[in-house]
Subunit: 386 residues, 2 copies
Amino acid sequence: MKVYKKIILPKGFKASGISAGIKRGAKPDLALIFSKKPAKAAALFTTNKIKAAHIKVCLKHLKNSDSFNALMINSGNANCFTGDKGMHDAEAIMAQLAKKLNFKKDNILIASTGIIGKSLPVDKIKRAIPLLVGALSSKGLISAVRAIMTTDTFPKIATRRINIAGKKVFICGFAKGAGMISPNMACAEHRRSATMLCFILTDASISQRALKQALNSAVEDSFHCITVDGCMSTNDTVIALANGAAENISVDKNKNFNLFALTLKNICLELAKMIIKDAEGATKFIEIKVKGAKTTQEAKKAALAVANSNLFKTAIYGKNPNFGRIVQAIGASGIDVKEKDLKIKLSPLNKKNVFVEVDINKGKACTKVYTSDLTPEYIKINAEYN
Amino acid sequence: MKVYKKIILPKGFKASGISAGIKRGAKPDLALIFSKKPAKAAALFTTNKIKAAHIKVCLKHLKNSDSFNALMINSGNANCFTGDKGMHDAEAIMAQLAKKLNFKKDNILIASTGIIGKSLPVDKIKRAIPLLVGALSSKGLISAVRAIMTTDTFPKIATRRINIAGKKVFICGFAKGAGMISPNMACAEHRRSATMLCFILTDASISQRALKQALNSAVEDSFHCITVDGCMSTNDTVIALANGAAENISVDKNKNFNLFALTLKNICLELAKMIIKDAEGATKFIEIKVKGAKTTQEAKKAALAVANSNLFKTAIYGKNPNFGRIVQAIGASGIDVKEKDLKIKLSPLNKKNVFVEVDINKGKACTKVYTSDLTPEYIKINAEYN
């Protein structure tokens, strides 16, 4: 626990996390991030056709406003498949929070994770808002992170400090994962899922355009490279907030942008790997590298096919070096591959970390994806979740 | 056991099944089907890009010959990812069998199921051929069916007798399944996979064209509607042999063809459901109906997405009526669907048979697919398989 106490927030941010009674047993389930200085925002959401209410509400607020002061997150209830009522519920909670904080509702973002198909306990959440706001603190990050956990067994936080033209800029990311993890997200304009929630806070001064560009690229090479169970969630959300409190020259292009973007990618990859290390029931951390592809996309398609194969994942759990199941998954992945070109390497299975390398000998593109094994414990967790 | 003794073969067919020592412990692992009268053949094979050696050899023989006298099947070894050696091994065994039976090698078909990536024990199989041929009998079907089983717990046989213009025609199908079951097959010419092996034997007189047409349609509405684990095998094979011994007028069109095709479809659907009932580790038989789709294809895509969802399958195992996981799977399936249009019904989960009905309210197309729950026993079987 000691290590988490040292974790600080970027300049100008405060956070809190409390129990609002959404989950049973007084577990933390409501988190708030606050920045008095308005923050630029970039966001990506699930491409599942059924989207949680918070996503529809966020998309509206992101359209109406270009700066944000607060981000509220609840666990224990996904507020998904809750129809118009779900959106009204989210808006009602945000209105209450806006009033308490003395900002406009449009300057607030919201996210939910938990059971699909149940209405939010609006009154409980509204009643908890004064306590939540009162608990805001520059040391409150760990409380917020604990409040967004569902089946996670540990809080997931990654931080980096960089230097932008003489000014110290701090970037802090936190996430929750565990199950229903197979993210494939899109930002509001373009198209492009787990309940995976990830939030990036930074005191960098950066344009919204540059923040979006850096976030899209970071997510593509991190969260889009992990899968626990191949189930793309209705709630996947990544939101980055940059409040400019570091007072650096704006990170917009060239080497400053490249440094910021690379740092953001490293944070996202660290968090993505934590999600896999904490995957429901996992006993193994599996890295699958596919090389010799014509394109990175092709390599990813092949690698994710192996990562999502129940037969491969159970074999790894059983320490059973059945490379035939890798062959089967590659062949069924939809990419074009020839038997004679296929070379497979598998590291010893008695270790916690397992490495698979598949060479399809067609081209020069390469990618890595990360997954966990499929275990009786995964089934226990998900058979009993309700 | 008594029921199997009554099962007879269509006129002119003999069968046998013995232990050739491919599997450990003297289990049956080699089967032979024989018809002195040459049989017309229709076949479908996996669309996995990595195909077992027997598929490549069968495709060659199906090109060189239009009638067949024998079909040899081994379990315990998939002869897949075995390169050119795998094909030479299969051909060497067939040459030995052809010599013993006094037919051309091209008049023989072959199929394998078992571990991927190991060479066939050619010498053991060759040595077993005299015993295998010697055991051929019109009562040998059950021995043959037992010899093609892998993790199956019971033999799968379905039979029907029909009347074609005054002549009795008999159709008999047998199959093995259990794991790596997500069939999507194609016939030799077109394009269109479990290790699922299914063989149909009939004494019908029918043209090859009509037999192919009936088989394609039957498979589309049966084996292509089941999934155990979403893993399309390298070895999936369906072969139908019709030797004409019933001496009916050729079943080629109109009502005779329709009766034959419908009967074949019913046999395939009965076998497909048996594969799901015997799915590795299954405690539930799940029927998923999707209606209100624009096309049958769209309905199937949505239904298979639910059927292949680990979260849905573990919930059903846990008797946990978490319809949110059905919502998630439909939304992630790739079909276009609106939250307000989606209606879900789920039967009580305390029964062995579970029914799910999803109405997407877009059109009039409808389909049913069949799957099993995901259980700790599935993991145990597949963790320890080697």
